[in-house]
Subunit: 392 residues, 2 copies
């Protein structure tokens, strides 16, 4: 186990009816908020009315900015920053999924940053403050409701970069699984792939003596694998959505990766896909993850045997570890397919024309000095290219 620093102060208010409490929950923290949301589904569902009524009841003034798209755009972030400055906003309330929350975080730090906030995503320089962010979660997937992470797309330059800061941890997040009932079925698959990937990026490691976090990771994965089919079969299954939603938070609040070298190669490679092709992050992860596994497993046979046995339930002879591993990967692929997720880049409409470009962007050699990605196995641009090709 490695030394670690765990700090995850986001308060999670979970369960039926909790979105009605948002005004009372925010009252001690702000008198004027920016209500930030996506394409308007919250108006159709009635959630917009519930949230604004709760704010009004608590005497909290609000201004609003809708229109966040999946793979949230820098342009709208710029608009939000100007709006917050103009209106004297004290807190940003993101009502939506990971894209809305990530956009809110970008705005939150942009309010206190003198230059273009994209500089921070590009440089990775630290910020010293941000407006507080709160969330009403409508899609369990990104884990952004408890994390200090944000990912923004610079659509003009076809770039998608992540950024992390303790200042970006939401103050509080409200999670009512009933809000997930009306999601399109494909969102369930995307969300599950993202949640599982957040665990995989931490689980697959060369760090040893990690009994506790191994078990925590496996628990989150098994919980999602058990409950996703139940939610798919009945999109109003409160219990199944509760497990998926709670698991999504635990997958990404930092705990399950503490003391471990983390990986993150799949996320880096997926960001290149969605930056250029504007696909769903979860769909890209579902395609890339099994390919990545097939490419890297020989570097840590024991780790992948443990995954196949403990998570995917493979039984077999330990004297044939590769057979166990390949069966585990196949079961994962089959699980993703059962949720309607794609298995190949071709299914995503992605041809070979930009694989090399993406491999070189992911490893930075496209921009300058090569910076290999991944923790379990260091991947150079040729490795990334090989994985993209395996995923065709």
């Amino acid at each position: 186990m490695l030394n670690f620093d765990f700090y995850s102060p986001a308060r999670i208010v979970f369960g039926r009816g909790t979105e009605k409490e948002i005004g009372a929950l925010l009252k001690p923290h702000a008198s004027k908020v920016l209500l930030h949301y996506g394409g308007g589904s919250i108006k159709k569902s009635g959630l917009y009315d519930t949230v604004t009524a709760s704010l009004k009841k608590a005497g909290i003034a609000f201004t609003e900015l809708g229109g966040v798209q999946p793979n949230p755009r820098l342009t709208l972030v710029h608009e939000g920053i100007a709006l917050c400055k103009r209106e004297g906003v004290e807190l940003i309330l993101a009502v939506g999924g990971g894209s809305v929350i990530d956009s809110a975080k970008a705005i939150a730090m942009g309010v206190y940053y003198d230059g273009d906030i994209w500089d921070i995503y590009e440089s990775g320089d630290s910020v010293s403050r941000a407006l507080p962010v709160a969330t009403v979660l409508t899609i369990p997937a990104a884990g952004s409701e408890a994390s200090g992470d944000t990912v923004i797309s610079n659509e003009a330059e076809e770039l998608k970069y992540g950024y992390s800061s303790a200042h970006l941890r939401p103050l509080l997040s409200v999670m009512n699984p009933e809000l997930f009932f009306t999601l399109p079925k494909e969102q369930l698959g995307y969300g599950v792939a993202d949640i599982m990937s957040h665990v995989f990026e931490r689980y697959f490691t060369n760090t040893t003596h990690t009994d506790l976090t191994d078990g925590l990771c496996e628990t989150v994965l098994k919980t999602v694998i058990k409950n996703a089919p139940l939610a798919l079969a009945n999109m109003s299954d409160y219990d199944a959505w509760s497990e998926i939603g709670f698991a999504g938070m635990v997958a990404h609040n930092g705990l399950v990766g503490m003391g471990r070298d983390e990986d993150w190669a799949c996320h880096m490679m997926e960001h290149e896909l969605s930056a250029i092709y504007d696909i769903a992050h979860g769909a890209g992860l579902a395609v890339l993850t099994p390919a990545w596994m097939k490419y890297v497993y020989r570097d840590n046979i024991s780790m992948f045997v443990q995954f196949a046995v403990n998570v995917m339930g493979v039984k077999g002879s330990y004297r044939e570890p590769e057979a166990i591993i390949l069966e585990g990967i196949e079961r994962l692929s089959a699980f993703f397919r059962s949720l309607g997720l794609p298995s190949t880049l071709a299914e995503l409409g992605i041809d070979d024309s930009k694989l090399e470009l993406m491999a070189k962007k992911a490893t930075n050699i496209h921009f300058g000095e090569e910076s290999p990605i991944g923790g379990l196995k260091k991947l150079f641009w040729q490795d990334a290219l090989a994985i993209y090709r395996l995923a065709r």
Copy 2:
């Protein structure tokens, strides 16, 4: 799963050498602290010198109060409150185990409370503020380094009461498993019994649809069961102590009980034992827990089968669930014995003379109206008495 509100903001700085950073970590938060500790083992071990050097280097002034005893006493708490008020202390740094931290929390809220702080333990009334508390943990057991809980003994009245408040969550806790190497071997057993009990009190529930937290609980338990014998065999096993220390924090920071009805009967009954007989909390729990299990398991056969199979590794016919359960309880008892823990009240020097008194105190009927304890099975005073008798 039930609705829940999860808030666990304590920052955990974990690993080798981290105690040397305490001054730098506290510098943004306080310029004058109370250094609170126990019977002086930190002076023998050199930890006192390390911590005070770190405070001095950071320019943090300190006053000190040692002498915290196991089952920390109200008298010393009163002394600490007066000292903090007199000296203008801004933060309390607890260097020790759960007793020192619990004492620090009592002082922290006592500084802002006008009456006798014992009133708060007795009434359960909420407090509106407390001094911040930080910790350097020397015994993994109580989980007080991340929890909002404190337990204090009123030695004059032979009472031991707990109290909880979000204001009592430590600001930050430093945990270097190397500091556990010099613990007496019996402390390992006491700590493990306490950690496991913190999970049991949350794990054993009638709440259904708790896949995620079931698995988190089982992971913490299995991690401790695997690593405690390794630490016992080699008290300088850093990896084993790391797992136990991390598990002790996760066991009691609140996460593994979220969305579940909790139990806490064993803790309530144990507090009566240590209030009168001043025994180690972990020793009392090791004696009472198997007795409690034998008394209550018929009320939730499935829950106890899951425990026996998933945690204790029992294999057997599911058509004979009671045999599986009893084997699971026996394995737990054997595990406790293997760590040198007692199995009976007699081994603790406790005879029958006060069993009825303790049963009546635990359920409050001794003081007035009966208030049954426990979540999985409601226990009245006769039930508590029966469990004490089973533990003889």
